[in-house]
């Protein structure tokens, strides 16, 4: 289990992944918006999206967990 985290303080602009989705390493899970830039949030390893921890429009701080991925479930 690991969480994709915010790399910078931002506004959650889009959530691409849905709970239960199977994702591969490098897939875009969500897009943050800060300083008018669209900052993609990637899955660092393959797995299943077990929980989405944030909502669109929410302000997140650097390092906040956004989306939980269960990597064991992908086996």
């Amino acid at each position: 289990m690991f969480a994709a985290r915010a790399e910078i303080v931002a506004n959650v602009w889009k959530i691409v992944a849905r709970e239960g989705d199977q994702v591969g390493a490098g897939d875009v899970l969500a897009i943050l918006e800060t300083m008018k830039m669209e900052i993609p949030v990637y899955a660092e390893a393959p797995g299943f999206v077990s929980k989405i921890l944030v909502e669109v429009g929410q302000i997140v701080q650097e390092g906040d967990p956004l989306i939980e991925i269960d990597e064991t479930a992908s086996a």
């Binding site: 910078i8 303080v9 300083m35 650097e62």
Partner: protein, 506 residues
């Protein structure tokens, strides 16, 4: 007897065979004693002498005062000497971790200072191979006095020669401070650590249970603290990286630049260059693709790749000249400038300036990151360091805006006002006092407040602002950028400028 055929200059003219044999064996014995107790310990594979020999060209290492000793069988605690890398002279200081964990006593400090003095006087780069527990307690204040002397020479050397520190073991106290006074620090993963106080003292002072890796491992220092600038997997890799770094640098300030023949940019990258930067200014991309499409194809060395990754700092070549490249990296944190990015960039620009390396800046910056966190970190002070570094740097400075440059960040990224010699902007770029969204919110505050559909009006006004105010032609007409160019023209423009700016220096 073979010894008779190679007479020693030290042997007395009337010395008979027996006496001469005695002198010879005594020297042989002394040399053997010096390294009798220096077997590698812990994770180390090589001795201090082997490390020094591996760093330089094969067979070129010569030890200075190899018989200097702090006591029977101890040597001085350090192997100091000189050799060459790719034929260029280099001074090396290599801590002997097998003697008292490399702790710096009075004699060791004196030996290190002698090598530093030599390097500064001759104008040769110096590499410190650090593997030391810090000041040697047995030597009391004489050890402290010696360490302070090393620091003072580190600082004197900054104005004269490149200094590189390798961290090949646990380095505490003075052995961690000296690297911080040098230009670039390279750490071997899971082998090198740097901290002011080790785990035991941390535990005693604060109750914190932390391993040496937690307090001063390469991950902490290359990613979070920025104390070290490159993390490598092995000692061999550390030596290779050091040699690569030196290949971009002159031996001393004012020394000849290591000029190579010009190599065209990577053909694939050149072909992709016109379409690399997404037109929509909010979409991220990899700035390395732009750098590859402009600079000479060949060796690069990126420093601090994992610390403040929203800005890239790397050495490369342009038309055969070694250059320092500064570039915003939209792929990491949107390419913003924050406190750490500003400090990282300032340090790099300052280094280039000290050693006359041209600075090439690629700009696509959304601005300085606002907010309480960054203001609390002192972003004003740190951003100011970047401005100062650009202004004080007298080597050639070339800047190209590839997409957007807004506000204070526009100035900070090597703008004309800070002394850039030549500035260009790509045709689709935007240069403005602030981004279109923010600008129209201020300029049309009342109209937006009274509008029935403010977001629609704001987008319309922002589009007008982008086309009429932010396009680079306004800046070009005002002479603030020298010219507006197509991406594929960048290399030729930069090459011509660099030839003009370095004319007479070869």
């Amino acid at each position: 007897m073979s010894q008779r055929e190679t007479p020693s200059v030290l042997s007395a003219p009337d010395a008979g065979p027996v006496e001469e044999q005695g002198h010879r064996s005594m020297l042989t014995q002394r040399r053997a004693d010096r390294f009798a107790h220096v077997e590698p310990k812990g994770k180390r594979v090589y001795t201090a002498l082997q490390r020094a020999e591996m760093l330089v060209d094969d067979g070129s290492f010569v030890a200075m005062t190899p018989l200097r000793s702090a006591g029977a069988g101890q040597g001085s605690g350090v192997v100091a000497g000189w050799g060459t890398t790719d034929g260029h002279p280099l001074v090396v200081v290599s801590h002997d971790a097998a003697v008292a964990s490399g702790a710096i006593g009075a004699v060791m400090a004196e030996s290190i200072q002698k090598a530093q003095r030599f390097a500064i006087d001759k104008g040769y780069p110096i590499v410190y191979i650090n593997d030391s527990g810090g000041a040697r307690i047995h030597d009391g204040i004489f050890a402290l006095h010696g360490c302070g002397g090393i620091f003072a020479l580190n600082i004197e050397a900054q104005k004269r020669i490149p200094q590189i520190s390798l961290i090949l073991g646990p380095c505490a106290g003075a052995a961690a401070y000296s690297p911080a006074l040098t230009d670039w620090t390279i750490m071997v993963k899971e082998q090198g650590q740097m901290f002011l106080t080790g785990p035991d003292i941390v535990k005693a002072a604060t109750g914190e249970d932390a391993s040496a890796e937690d307090i001063g491992g390469s991950d902490l220092h290359t990613r979070v603290s920025g104390v070290a600038h490159l993390e490598v997997d092995s000692e061999e890799e550390a030596f290779h990286a050091t040699r690569l770094l030196l290949s971009f640098l002159p031996t001393h300030k004012g020394g000849a630049q290591k000029r190579h023949s010009s190599v065209p940019a990577n053909p694939g990258a050149v072909e992709r260059l016109p379409g690399i930067v997404p037109e929509k200014s909010s979409i991220v991309f990899d700035m390395n693709a732009v750098i590859d499409g402009v600079l000479d194809n060949g060796a690069r060395l990126e420093l601090m790749p994992t610390h403040a990754p929203s800005i890239l700092t790397l050495f490369a070549r342009l038309d055969g000249h070694a250059v320092g490249v500064i570039a915003n990296q939209p792929n990491a944190r949107g390419g913003i400038l924050d406190s750490k990015a500003a400090v990282k960039a300032a340090r790099f620009v300052d280094f280039c300036g000290r050693f006359d390396l041209p600075v090439v800046t690629f700009v696509d910056v959304p601005g300085f990151l606002p907010g309480t966190v960054e203001e609390g970190r002192g972003i004003i002070t740190h951003g100011a360091k970047l401005l100062k570094a650009y202004v004080e740097t007298t080597s050639p400075k070339l800047t190209v805006v590839v997409r957007k440059a807004y506000g204070g960040a526009y100035i900070a990224m090597g703008a004309a006002s800070l002394g850039a010699d030549v500035n260009w902007a790509w045709a689709q770029s935007e240069i403005a006092v602030m981004g279109p969204g923010g600008a129209v919110a201020l300029l049309h505050r009342r109209a937006l407040k009274e509008a029935e559909e403010p977001t629609v009006l704001r987008d319309e006004l922002a589009a007008v602002y982008r086309e009429e105010v932010a396009r680079p032609y306004l800046a070009a007409e005002a002479g603030i950028v020298d010219d507006v160019i197509h991406p594929e023209e960048t290399r030729d423009r930069m090459t011509a400028a660099l030839r003009m700016l370095t004319a007479g220096t070869d």
